[in-house]
C-alpha cells in the first residue's frame, strides 16, 4: 500500500442552510487515479474547491503529504504541490497559449524580482528554461503548434488541454481534474486517457471528477461516490458500478429495483 497523498477527514461545507459537503472522508494514494463521481449537485466541485483552498471548510480537516493544510490559502496549497483545472474552462483568454503555461509555472520561478526586471544572468536563464519547458508541456498535451496564438482562439477541446498543461506547469504532486473530458469527442477523449495514464506512470497522483463513466471506469484505481454531499460508496471500479446504492443514485429507485430484479446488477452489496 502506497502512502496517502491527500487525506480528507470529515470535511463539511455548508452554504447557510444548504449542506453541500457532509462529513466526507477519503484518502488518495500516491500514484493512483482516484475518481469522485456522483449525480449533478452531489458536491464534487465544492469538494474540489475545499481541497484547492478556494473555499474555506466549515469543519473537518485536510492533510497533504502528511501535513495539515486546512488553514492554508489557495496559493500556498498550490505552492505545496496541489494543481487543478476547472469544470468551466478558466484559461487566461487575453494571453497567448505559451504565456498561459508559463503563468502556471509561477510557483517554480524563484529568481528575485530585481534580477527579473534586469532580465540578465540567472533570471534570463530561468525565463529561457521556463519557455522551453512550456513548449515541452504543450507538446505533451498535443497543442504545441498553437503556442503563440491567443488562448481565446483555441477550439474547446484544445482549451481543456491547455488547462491541463497549465496545471502541470507547476509540477504538482496532486492534480485535481474537474471534468477534463467534458465536450471532447471520442478521439480527443482517448488521447486524454493516454495522457493521464502516462502521467500516472510517471508518478503523478490524480483526483478526478468526470461524468463519462466509460472513461472513469477504465482509468480509475479507486472511486468515491457522492450523493447529496455524502459518500455513499467507495471502492474499485468493478465494485462501485454494481453497487445498488450507486445505481439508485444515478438511475432512481424504480430503475434500480428493476435492474436488481433482472439480475442486471451483479454482486449487489459490493460496497460496504
Amino acid at each position: 500500500m502506497s502512502n496517502p497523498v491527500l487525506e480528507a477527514l470529515a470535511l463539511h461545507k455548508a452554504f447557510r442552510g444548504l449542506v453541500a459537503v457532509d462529513e466526507v472522508s477519503f484518502s488518495v494514494r500516491e500514484g493512483t487515479v482516484h475518481a469522485l463521481i456522483g449525480p449533478n449537485g452531489a458536491g464534487k466541485t465544492t469538494l474540489f474547491n475545499l481541497v484547492s483552498g478556494l473555499l474555506p471548510v466549515s469543519a473537518g480537516s485536510l492533510r497533504f503529504l502528511g501535513q495539515d493544510i486546512t488553514g492554508l490559502a489557495a496559493h500556498a496549497r498550490a505552492r505545496r504541490g496541489i494543481g487543478r483545472t476547472f469544470q468551466n474552462i478558466r484559461i487566461f483568454a487575453s494571453m497567448t497559449v505559451l504565456e498561459n503555461v508559463m503563468t502556471g509555472m509561477s510557483r517554480r520561478l524563484r529568481q528575485p524580482w530585481p534580477l527579473v526586471l534586469l532580465r540578465g544572468g540567472a533570471a534570463g536563464r530561468e525565463e529561457a528554461t521556463a519557455k522551453q519547458r512550456a513548449h515541452h508541456l504543450l507538446d505533451l498535451v498535443g497543442i504545441s503548434e498553437q503556442a503563440d496564438r491567443p488562448a481565446a482562439d483555441l477550439a474547446y477541446g484544445d482549451q481543456r488541454r491547455l488547462e491541463i498543461a497549465r496545471a502541470l506547469a507547476g509540477e504538482p504532486q496532486l492534480l485535481l481534474l474537474d471534468e477534463p473530458a467534458a465536450g471532447m469527442n471520442p478521439t480527443e477523449t482517448a488521447g486524454l486517457m493516454a495522457l493521464l495514464q502516462k502521467l500516472r506512470t510517471d508518478g503523478l497522483t490524480i483526483l478526478l471528477v468526470e461524468h463519462d463513466m466509460g472513461f472513469v471506469m477504465e482509468l480509475s484505481d479507486q472511486i468515491t461516490v457522492l450523493n447529496f454531499g455524502r459518500v455513499i460508496c467507495e471502492g474499485q471500479p468493478e465494485a462501485v458500478q454494481h453497487d445498488p446504492a450507486v445505481v439508485e443514485a444515478y438511475l432512481g429507485p424504480k430503475v434500480a429495483q428493476r435492474l436488481l430484479a433482472a439480475k442486471a446488477v451483479k454482486n449487489p452489496q459490493a460496497c460496504p
Binding site: S52, G53, L54, A73, A74, H75, A78, R79, I82, G83, R84, F86, R90, I91, F92, A93, S94, M95, T96, L98, E99, M102, T103, G104, M105, S106, R107, L109, W113, V116, L117, L118, R119, A123, G124, E127, A130, K131, R166, A167, G170
Partner: protein, 279 residues
C-alpha cells in the same frame, strides 16, 4: 534658435512640467488597474505627497532628494494602512472606500492650521525641473515596461483575468494587490511633490474627487494592456484643454465626451496592443 526654444519652454513651462507629472500619475493609476482593481485614491495619495513634500521643504528646509523620498514613503505607508482592510473589497466598493480617503484628507487639510487650512500652502520653492520630472518618468516607464514583460507581468495579467485561477497557480493575489496599491501610492505622492515644487502653491481642493477621476481617465483613455497607454493617455488629456482653449467653457464637456467615446468604441484604450509577457 535656442533663444526661441527657451522662450517657448518658458511660456509653456507649466504645461511641459504638467505633462510629465500627469504621465507619472497615469503610471500610478496603471499599477492598480493592471491588477483589476479600481481605486479612486490616487488624488488622495498625490495630496499626501504634495503636503508632505511642501512641509518638508518649507518647515525643515531639507534637500530636494529627501523631500521626494518622504513624499513617496508617507503615501506608501498610508496605502498599507488603507490597503490591508480594503483590498478584500472588489469592484466599486474599493473605489468608494478610496473616495472616502480623499474626502477625509481634504477635510483634515481644511481644518489644520499649520497646513494653511483653506488657503493652502504657498511660496513653495521651485525645486522641480524638467530633468528631474522627465528623468523620473523615464525611469518609472522603463521599470513598468520591464515588469509587464516579466513573470510579474504574467501574474498581474492572470490576476486581472481570473483571480481564482491565478490563486491555484500559486500566485499570492492579496500581496500582489497590496504591493500594487503601495507602489501606486508612492508614484502618486512623488507626482504630488513634483507638482507642488513647480506650481509653488497647493490647496486642499486640488486633490478631491475631480482630480481622482481625471487621473483615472488618463489610464482608461490609454488602456491597461501596456503602461505606454497610461502615459499617452495622460499626455493627450493634458494637452487637449490647451488645444481646445477657444471652446472656453465647453472644454470640460469635450473631455467627458472623449472618455465616453473611448469606453464605447475602444474599450482597450487608444493603445490597445498587448506587450508580450515573456522575457
Amino acid at each position: 534658435m535656442f533663444d526661441a526654444l527657451d522662450d517657448l519652454l518658458w511660456a509653456y513651462q507649466d504645461l511641459f512640467y504638467g505633462l510629465g507629472v500627469n504621465a507619472i500619475l497615469g503610471l500610478s493609476m496603471y499599477a492598480v488597474l493592471a491588477l483589476g482593481q479600481l481605486s479612486l485614491g490616487q488624488a488622495a495619495f498625490m495630496g499626501i505627497g504634495a503636503y508632505v513634500g511642501a512641509v518638508v521643504t518649507l518647515k525643515l528646509g531639507a534637500p530636494f532628494i529627501l523631500t521626494l523620498l518622504a513624499a513617496a514613503v508617507v503615501p506608501a505607508l498610508a496605502a498599507i494602512l488603507i490597503g490591508r482592510p480594503t483590498l478584500r473589497l472588489t469592484g466599486v466598493y474599493l473605489a468608494i472606500a478610496t473616495i472616502g480617503l480623499g474626502e477625509v484628507l481634504r477635510i483634515v487639510y481644511l481644518n489644520t492650521a499649520p497646513l494653511g487650512g483653506a488657503l493652502g500652502l504657498s511660496g513653495i520653492p521651485n525645486k522641480a525641473n524638467g530633468w528631474i520630472i522627465y528623468g523620473l518618468l523615464a525611469l518609472f516607464l522603463g521599470v513598468s515596461l520591464s515588469i509587464v514583460r516579466s513573470r510579474i507581468g504574467r501574474s498581474m495579467e492572470a490576476i486581472r483575468e481570473d483571480e481564482d485561477a491565478a490563486r491555484v497557480m500559486g500566485i499570492d493575489v492579496d500581496s500582489y494587490k497590496l504591493n500594487g496599491l503601495v507602489l501606486s501610492a508612492a508614484l502618486a505622492g512623488l507626482a504630488g511633490a513634483l507638482n507642488a515644487h513647480y506650481s509653488s502653491f497647493i490647496s486642499p481642493n486640488e486633490y478631491g474627487f475631480e482630480a481622482a477621476v481625471s487621473i483615472l481617465s488618463f489610464a482608461v483613455l490609454g488602456g491597461v494592456t501596456t503602461p505606454l497607454g497610461a502615459v499617452s493617455g495622460a499626455f493627450l488629456l493634458t494637452l487637449l484643454p490647451e488645444v481646445l482653449r477657444p471652446l472656453h467653457d465647453l472644454r470640460g464637456i469635450f473631455n467627458g465626451l472623449i472618455i465616453v467615446l473611448v469606453v464605447i468604441f475602444l474599450p482597450k484604450g487608444i493603445l490597445g496592443f498587448r506587450v508580450r509577457r515573456t522575457g
